[in-house]
């Protein structure tokens, strides 16, 4: 089973993940132009982009635990998943900037400083931005594996910040983002509980 899955994933090209990952965006564009959004389309666009970003972020967090716990390797898709998360996060921020806030720069600036939900969201986004621009082989070479890995551990800060950002933006304690925050913390727990096998264990010599 494990081998079959790994074989399958080895043959699946990365662009297929990109193509599938852009389906939610295509559906959103379709709904926007075909009147499939609700009475407040701005809110729907903004929220759907934000939710999709978080889901891809969580998917990218699942890659390592899946390898360590189940031996299933999606490692080759991890970068695409992370970049998809960043793409949706970027569009989410852009929709807030243009459609929701209508370019009221002064109010946006004040709001980000004053409102914890915006501050958390923005810090999360800045982290994702830093990870996205270093998500290429050249950056890994330039930074060195260890420094690069250290930087990219920040994803474990970004993910709970983003979930909290969602929770704090709502009036009553919401079930869905609360659930995802628990999932993120569980994934983080798994990373801590099952450490990275630094050295390949060699068979002991008799």
């Amino acid at each position: 089973m494990q081998r079959k899955l790994n074989d399958l994933f080895r043959r699946l090209p990365v662009w297929a993940v990109w193509a599938a990952g852009l389906i939610p965006l295509a559906l959103l564009v379709w709904d926007t132009f075909m009147g499939g959004l609700g009475i407040d389309p701005i809110r729907d666009i903004e929220h759907r982009l934000g939710r999709t970003a978080l889901y891809f972020l969580i998917a990218s967090l699942c890659v390592t635990p899946l390898l360590r716990v189940a031996g299933i390797s999606l490692m080759k898709f991890r970068r695409a998943l992370g970049l998809l998360a960043f793409t949706y996060a970027g569009l989410h921020v852009l929709s807030w900037l243009t459609m929701d806030m209508g370019f009221l720069w002064a109010q946006m600036g004040r709001d980000i400083i004053k409102r914890p939900y915006l501050l958390l969201g923005m810090v999360g986004f800045v982290i994702l931005l830093a990870l996205a621009v270093t998500s290429n082989n050249a950056s890994i070479r330039r930074m060195g594996g260890q420094a690069w890995r250290k930087l990219h551990k920040l994803v474990y800060l970004a993910a709970p910040l983003v979930a909290l950002h969602w929770i704090l933006a709502l009036k009553v304690f919401p079930v869905t983002p609360g659930f995802w925050l628990v999932v993120i913390l569980a994934l983080l727990g798994l990373r801590v509980a099952i450490p990275r096998p630094l050295k390949r264990s060699r068979p002991a010599r008799a």
Partner: protein, 264 residues
Amino acid sequence: LTGKPSQFSTDEKPNSFEEITNYNNFYEFGTGKEDPARYADSLTTDPWSVEIGGLVDRPGSYGVDDLAPDNALEERIYRLRCVEAWSMVVPWIGVPLVSVLNKVGVQPSAKYVAFETLYRPEEMPGQNRPFLDWPYREGLRLDEAMNPLAILATGLYSDPLPNQNGAPIRLVVPWKYGFKSIKSVVKITLTDTQPVATWNALQPSEYGFYANVNPQVDHPRWSQATERKIGGGLFGGREETLMFNGYAEQVASLYAGMDLAKNY
């Protein structure tokens, strides 16, 4: 349903019937904006009675027609500003709240008016979940309730009030955030102490008893300086929120000398 035109109506263009009836906060039917339109059909609004009591001369159970007879109906086109920083313009049909208060005879010792929404979880599925302390309650100071802007609405455009908008009878206080305008009212009580208001009790730092629309006093988690008009299109932008939602001329005197940053 028709109502006499009123000097208090705004000349802004009302939102469409579709917008007003498909974008509602009515947590008795769920927390989603689409939930009320989806689930409020299950609500029985006939028969309906409103229990009026407390410090009144003629307490009792009143029918909707007793409180808002056809010949007394007025059309009031009001701005509606939600505490979530969006807004609409709604053409209500209803009667001034003061006419109802005069009908039941307010005693001199009364200082506040308390309102209560129907509690019927078998028809209001949201009430099966404890995100608010049901039944929903709201209150006004007596002088606020007597202000001619405060109405009890029974209609929307020329229709009887749709269920998702608080049928068959609801409060509308246009200078306050929308959550003060309690829906599907079954109980009105005149009291001498400040009544419990649901959101205020849940989160007093975020929702005040007064809840007057005030661009200078922010919600702790978001700004109230501007608002987004529903129906404004994808790039309609935001508008400045007006003090008392644009009704300062009629209501500012009610709060003369009060620190509105403290009494938010």
